[in-house]
Symmetry: C2
DNA sequence: GGGCGGCGATACCCTCCGGGTATCGATTCC
DNA sequence: GGAATCGATACCCGGAGGGTATCGCCGCCC
């Protein structure tokens, strides 16, 4: 199977529409139809159930969609990492570390300092990204290493090392009656009238249905909480970022959050090994 | 990058010889040279250092070799799993479980029985393979799930669930003076005169240098030990397989061995989930 | 040291595959 | 029932990919 075929299939499977998929790929619709037919014939498998009005994925099709995305990421990663290896060999080497904007407040500067103090340390570019993008960046080679927060981020398919674990706190407006309590449980926070939990976007940019406000980053979220429009349960380490208008109350039965440093398997980079070593020593 | 280009590059990088690589790929040498040149031009990276007498990998080249192999495995896995999903939807579904021949003696039948007793269980094909082949089979889609033994096998890049941990024992000829001891430490076994540790083959079939005999599977190994030509340190669970002519003595400071069940990430198979559930319940 | 042999690069040709345009056939909706 | 939508089909063209012949370079051996 050629990556071109796979790219074509993924486009059609995502759009469920040959015309739009062709447009996205920058080709005309007929060659796309033909390519998909050819792919199906070669695999000996029906991937799409087409009528003249609709396109549906078969079981095999949805497996190929999931696996194909991963495979395309792997190919892209190979390409990117080869390019970067060439750069590192001649010009300026470096690492790209990715983490969620707003998360791992204290840990990140400590890690960077600890690594920078090592002999042979290379420059580290920090990439702050939105929710759920880190895995993608790590998988397709745009980043070398990530700080992930289990159980929110899945570290599936990566090598990891645990760095620290912490409890979670409910973040409430300072004026809220519950803000003075010594601790809460998740049921208390979930049921707060007028302060629903926010909704985070999926990877494709759409939001799950529900009552809460749609948020895209931590700044938005904290502002909404201060305005009395939302509440949230966040890792303890967010505390230093909270203004005077917000209160944090430990939530005893919330799952603990583990910060892990994650990197793609079969990585033989000296610099990456050093960074991981520095991280585990903190 | 197309998979064809990647396959071509991997072939050349493995053979370090354009002629042989072309032969292996079933094409003539000139188009292969051209394809590699084109790939280098598109990437903007020198992958191979060629003289008319030798071909060497550059740093970028060896990165692309490692990453490219993984990417090709991923593409192959996508293809295979799509095919199998189609089979499972229409004809006979099934799972392929792979484990090292000779290992996980008691565990495997217990697991298969426990799973078979579940409602909705599908047939499980068991694939016994040699050392270090399991990761490959799992990665390229020929197997759905594996039993791995850490720290011998690396579970890098897979989702895993720990099943059990055990100590290790030294396996010696029954007549050996140390066979009667209650326990040993690794230094004792490493230094046994005339009973060197065996050498296992690498993935490419070559053996590391050293004094011990070359072995390929457990049967060979046990026979060599019985003959007084070797000794070995193996997980405790090998005990039931030992004949009367062999003795097992606990090695206190050997690393403990953890048996894990591993499967590729983003697996959405109902059957696989059931098998993992059965495994964790044991 | 000069001829030989091995190996990668180059030159040139040809075939077929991937892409484009025009059009058909089916289905749905007004 | 006609128009609009959408995937499939028919047909054409250009270029990418593969083959053969040959060159140029460099160790090696008699």
């Amino acid at each position: 199977m050629e990556t071109r075929e796979l790219r074509y299939f993924v486009a059609v499977a995502e759009e469920l529409h040959f015309g739009r998929a062709a447009q996205r790929l920058g080709i005309a619709q007929p060659p796309l139809s033909r390519a998909i037919r050819q792919l199906e014939r070669r695999l000996g498998v029906t991937l799409l159930e087409r009528t003249s009005r609709s396109v549906l994925l078969t079981e095999a099709g949805s497996v190929l969609l999931a696996e194909g995305r991963a495979a395309l990421d792997a190919v892209e990663a190979a390409e990117r990492r080869a390019r970067r290896a060439a750069l590192a060999a001649t010009g300026r080497p470096g690492l790209v570390l990715v983490t969620k904007a707003g998360a791992s407040g204290e840990l990140l500067p400590k890690l960077l300092d600890a690594y920078a103090a090592e002999p042979g340390a290379v420059p580290v570019d920090v990439l702050l990204c939105g929710i759920g993008e880190q895995e993608r960046l790590l998988r397709d080679g745009r980043a070398d290493v990530a700080l992930l927060h289990r159980p929110f981020d899945s570290a599936n398919g990566f090598d990891t090392e645990e760095l620290c674990t912490e409890g979670q706190v409910a973040v409430l407006p300072a004026w809220h009656p519950l803000a003075g309590r010594a601790h809460l449980c998740t049921a208390d926070v979930a049921a707060l009238p007028g302060l629903p939990m926010p909704r985070w976007p999926h990877r494709d940019g759409t939001y799950p249905p529900g009552p809460g406000p749609q948020v895209r980053d931590h700044t938005q979220l904290l502002q909404l909480i201060a305005l009395g429009r939302a509440s949230a349960i966040l890792p303890e380490s967010c505390r230093p970022q909270l203004g005077r208008d917000l209160a944090a109350v430990p939530v005893l039965d919330a799952p603990t959050v583990t910060t892990v440093i994650a990197w793609p398997p079969h990585s033989r980079s000296q610099a990456l090994a050093g960074l991981v070593r520095a991280a585990t020593r903190i």
